[in-house]
């Protein structure tokens, strides 16, 4: 059974004749534990799809079902709970909170969870170790490199051990070496059982995924397995 089912997702902005379709009838299925890349040129609708998968951007038409739950039948607050419990989100440009330290940024999803302080710290340190950030706990985001910021963002997204990780151009601002490190990290997380959906325009990054969904002008133009990632 598919874990994530996107059923004829349409997203229009505006009204009437001037309405623009950012996503125009996209359907796909993702299995549990799969690593899927979403590729396309700029403006293809990749980030819009990710926003919809992230329960943050309600489609104009269509359904999104995750683990049997029709996400957009939930209320806004229930979707917030869903995001907290099911999803980890790695944003473009990291989106770290500038006045919180590295470890505080990582613990952010736990701020509204009823867990003991000591347990929160342990979870955050575990996440830090997984992403290779030991020793940077008390630095501010302004005191770490771009690659380290990306690792902080990833650690934050996995601290509460979500089953699904959504990543929007996670290596867009990074150099080649750091990009490779990040993608290898994603690979390890996926091997650990995490379902990963990653938006990228980089064929090299897409090569780490098991399957590629290619989109263009808001439409799905093809599925490719790993070996055809550069097609």
């Amino acid at each position: 059974m598919s874990y994530i089912v996107a059923d004829n997702l349409i997203k229009k902005y505006g009204h009437g004749e001037s309405a623009v379709s950012a996503v125009d009838g996209i359907s796909f299925k993702i299995k549990e534990g799969e690593f899927v890349g979403i590729m396309g040129e700029s403006g293809a609708g990749k980030s819009t799809i990710l926003g919809m998968l992230g329960a943050m951007n309600a489609p104009t038409f269509g359904r999104l079902i995750v683990d049997g739950i029709d996400i957009y039948q939930l209320s806004q607050e229930q979707r917030a709970d869903f995001r907290r419990e099911f999803l980890g989100f790695v944003f473009q440009s990291f989106h770290l909170v500038s006045y919180l330290t590295v470890i505080e940024n990582i613990m952010l999803p736990l701020a509204v969870v009823k867990v003991r302080k000591k347990k929160k710290r342990e979870m955050a340190e575990e996440a830090m170790n997984q992403v290779g950030l030991s020793g940077k706990a008390h630095r501010l985001p302004s005191q770490i490199s771009g690659g380290e910021k990306e690792r902080v963002a990833i650690a934050r997204s996995i601290v509460n051990e979500p089953p699904v990780l959504l990543a929007d151009e996670p290596t867009g601002n990074l150099d080649t070496k750091t990009t490779r490190g990040i993608m290898e990290l994603f690979g390890r997380l996926n091997q650990g059982g995490m379902t990963i959906i990653m938006v990228t325009h980089s064929p090299d990054c897409a090569g780490y995924a098991q399957r590629i969904i290619k989109v263009s002008d808001g439409k799905l133009v093809g599925y490719y397995s790993k070996k055809y990632a550069n097609a």
Binding site: G54, A80, R84, S93, Y99, L108, A111
Partner: protein, 385 residues
């Protein structure tokens, strides 16, 4: 990591903005505390001074006759057809429950006398009590001895008498020891002598025509005092001079209303400062709030962060504002009271009230910004970068 951590860290990061909100609330709270403390102290002082300003209770003999005078015009000598009060009975007034509220008790003996070709009203008074009962008296000369009199300004003019002049009243030779400065009251037309002297002249030994009482009304309502005195003097009619009491209370009440009004306006301005600053802060934190919503914070969590920040700043403003206002009130009292030492005691009620008021103002003012922050669409907020 809790919402409180986020709130505190944000306040520490945006010290300037937090400081601005704090300053706005401190100014508001300190001004309110200062005004209220100052008004309270001044009210006590004014009340004390007003209570020194003459009699506010009259004790007259009970009579079945109706008054035959109106607006100062008496028709007939009916005012003396009433029974008199025994002077000895007045000592019972010191036994009432609120005897400490009696500042002065002044017996009077009244009678008509002839001086030359003129008729005049003579009053025998207790000159010691008169200092409290008639503080508007300014005497040129001296308080009379047993064979002396003082004249009201008008009676001195009409009788053509001055200090040191002899005056014969009912075959008794007396000397004018003083003349009162004009008072604008009926006293200008009277001749005053010692109570004992008047009682001898009018053959009313041990009796008085009426008594004036100066009562301190602050902690005891005037009506209660009137009742207590009536209970110990059943043969007398005891009346509060309502106009005196009422106008005094009205003056104080208006003073207080004015100060409350000013306080309300200042608090409103303080709350607007909080509102505008918090709205600006929410706008600046659009991306941050977007992150919070995206990672699963509910609307109430977002509102909680904003309210917590407002509470921390407001609570602090309440404490600082109280002590600043307290200091301001003490300084103002010293300036406006002249030689008055100015005592404003520390009031735990006002301190708690200041903190609670600051919290309420801060929370109400940040309600709209908190609501707006919680409504931010995470998708829109994150796209704003």
């Amino acid at each position: 990591m809790t919402l409180k951590t986020i709130s505190i860290r944000n306040l520490l990061r945006r010290k300037g903005k937090a400081g601005f909100v704090l300053a706005g609330l401190v100014v508001g709270v300190s001004t309110v505390v200062g005004i209220l403390s100052f008004v309270e102290a001044m009210t006590s002082d004014i009340n004390h001074k007003l209570e020194q300003y003459g009699a506010n209770i009259l004790i007259v003999p009970r009579t079945e006759n109706l008054a035959l005078s109106y607006g100062g015009l008496t028709l007939g000598g009916v005012s003396f057809e009433m029974e008199e009060i025994q002077e000895q009975e007045l000592t019972r007034v010191s036994t009432i429950k609120n005897s400490k509220n009696i500042a002065a008790l002044g017996p009077l003996v009244l009678g008509v006398v002839h001086v030359g070709t003129h008729k005049a009203l003579m009053a025998g008074v207790d000159f010691k009590a008169a200092r409290i009962l008639k503080p508007w008296w300014h005497l040129k000369g001296t308080v009379p001895e047993e064979n002396g009199v003082i004249l009201g300004a008008e009676s001195a003019r009409i009788l053509k008498l001055g200090i040191g002049d002899p005056i014969t009243i009912r075959n008794k030779r007396l000397v004018v020891s003083g003349v009162l400065q004009p008072t604008g009251s009926q006293d200008d037309q009277l001749i005053f002598t010692r109570l004992v002297t008047a009682q001898k002249i009018f053959n009313k030994n041990g009796r008085i025509s009426m008594a004036e009482v100066a009562a301190l009304c602050k902690d005891c309502p005037i009506d209660a005092l009137v009742k207590q005195i009536s209970d110990v003097l059943p043969g007398a009619k005891v009346m509060a001079i309502q106009q005196v009491v009422k106008s005094r209370m009205e003056t104080l009440a208006q003073f207080k209303k004015f100060s409350f009004g000013i306080s309300g306006v200042i608090l409103l301005i303080g709350s607007l400062v909080v509102l505008v600053t918090m709205m600006g802060s929410v706008r600046e934190r659009t991306d941050e709030i977007g992150i919070f919503r995206a990672i699963g914070f509910r609307k109430r969590h977002i509102m909680g962060i904003v309210f917590m920040e407002a509470s921390i700043v407001s609570g602090l403003a309440g404490i600082i504002g109280y002590f600043t206002g307290f200091g301001m009130a003490k300084a103002a009292l010293r300036i406006f009271s002249g030689n008055h030492s100015g005592h404003i005691p520390f009031s735990i009620e006002l301190a708690v009230g200041a903190v609670v008021t600051a919290l309420i103002v801060g929370l109400i003012s940040s309600a709209y910004p908190a609501f707006m922050a919680s409504r931010l669409d995470p998708n829109e907020a994150l796209r704003s970068l």
